[in-house]
């Protein structure tokens, strides 16, 4: 069952060329999909359209069977959480516990329920010891974990990670990727928006955007096999793939090496 269905979606910022043109795609319930593209490919615009922060010029977005419009936007936002790129721009609370509570307060949860849930979800992201801390005492990775706790507490069906790891150090990045895996295993539909192919190969499916258009969409294995599309995508290719292409061109590849490079590409 598709939890998100997008048909012929187009959007342009004032007077400029289309940021997105005729985008059609779908996301299945419980799936982990990566939207991959370079800066300016339209991937963040797409995420803002899905949560109704921007209004499409034409086309249709359906979330869980409901068409996104002015009446439905509030209900739809209850189903989708989003973690943005810059940890400092989304920390709204004075302390960690305030920040986790923010989303629940907006959804009018009972006060006693909120207090229990803060504890429960802070523990899930290993931030229990930091509940009274202010944001300046946290690293970027810790702030992103607090954002995740706040969203998990709202029990949304879908979580979008919009380049949520691109400003973190290696340790922070790894911890966030591990939480994403866990969240998806627990049944939440995950959309990761990234320009990093190393992250994208971890997901079930990859959608590649270039200049506002979908240029590829398929299972991760199939996408990695699609040399032509990858070469035209302006993305930085994984090194094992680059090496495979060099060997192919020189007619030097054999099955053993090919298999090894394939496993390395998939981060296994």
């Amino acid at each position: 069952m598709n939890i998100i269905e997008i048909k012929d979606l187009s959007f342009s910022y004032q007077d400029e060329i289309d940021a997105l043109s005729n985008v059609t795609l779908s996301v299945k319930k419980g799936e982990w999909v990566s939207i991959l593209g370079h800066n300016g490919s339209g991937k963040s615009t797409l995420s803002k359209l899905i949560i109704g922060l921007l209004k499409a010029d034409s086309g249709e977005i359906k979330v869980d069977g409901v068409i996104l419009n002015e009446e439905s936007v509030h209900d739809i936002r209850r189903k989708i959480g989003i973690v943005f790129q810059n940890p400092d721009n989304q920390f709204v609370g004075v302390t960690v516990e305030d920040d986790i509570a923010f989303g629940m307060e907006n959804l009018c949860f009972e006060q006693s329920d909120i207090i229990d849930k803060i504890k429960e979800y802070a523990e899930k992201v290993s931030m229990s010891e930091y509940l009274k801390k202010e944001p300046h005492a946290l690293s970027g990775g810790q702030k992103q974990r607090v954002a995740i706790a706040g969203i998990l507490a709202m029990k949304t069906d879908i979580i979008i990670f919009d380049e949520a790891t691109s400003m973190l150090d290696p340790k922070g990045r790894e911890s966030i990727m591990n939480y994403i895996k866990e969240i998806n295993k627990a049944g939440v539909t995950v959309i990761t928006i990234t320009h990093d192919m190393k992250e994208a190969v971890l997901s079930d499916r990859i959608i590649i955007l270039k200049e506002g258009r979908v240029i590829a969409c398929g299972d991760t294995n199939d996408i990695l096999n699609d040399k032509e599309t990858l070469n035209s995508s302006n993305l930085e290719l994984l090194l094992p793939l680059k090496l495979q292409y060099l060997l192919d061109e020189a007619n030097l590849s054999n099955d053993k090496v090919k298999d090894i490079l394939w496993q390395l590409s998939l981060n296994k």
Partner: protein
Amino acid sequence: MAIKFEQVNFEYPSFDGYNFSALKDINLEIAEKGEFITLIGETGSGKSTLVQHMNALIRPTTGSVTIYGIKIEKDTKKKGKVKLNPLRQRVGLVFQFPEYQLFEETVLKDIIFGPKNFGVKESVAIERAKQVIKHVGLDEEYLKRSPFNLSGGEKKRVSIAGILAMEPDILVLDEPTSGLDPKGRDDLLKLFMGIHNDLNKTVIIITHDMNTVYKYASRVLVMNEGHLVYDGLPQELFSKENIKSWNLDIPDIITITRQLEDKLDVNFDRQPHTIQDLFELVKEVI
């Protein structure tokens, strides 16, 4: 030596009396010319605190930093004898997200703000703006535009132009490529390389990207829990055992080389620097 750290300790004060020690016994020398240095280490390891000492934005709690012959110590400013402005002109510091600091009506006004502050005549500053806008890869026509209508990458370039217009001898950049895609990152790094090569300036870059370190740096500094734990060549750094305990990544090219050696059960006689190098090595063994 342009900058010399001698036994520098720095503590951030705190209200509860437990001061946070951000730098511990740092000894370090930076040359005025010819260095392309990357400064790495996990979040909170002291990288930003270290570079803020390089133009006396903050002063050591104990020890001293000598910048172009002027010794900066804890009470330097209180004595009132030392003028810090000339130092800040010679060591240009670009903060993380410099694009947030643009504020003027036009790009030109933004670029000449710094030099004018340091006493440069407006006509001279305008001439400089025309030069530096080209150095950062933008057309002179940009000078008339409003900084607020530029893309993120363009804003970053304008803010770097503003620092270059002060004609610093040393350029220090705090995570200039954070959040950029590979192309944006490489474009900026090529720009810094150009400044380093053409204008013969020392450039210091804070980064988390080990591929950048491996590809560009002539020298790498590693901070860990306030200590300077490594100062040397990038090639040697990544063969060190401690690298895991410093929470640093390994450059992709080294990772894949090791994995291939393991799976193909071979030992390459050298560490390849690029994918083309690795291809040459693999060619010999299959």
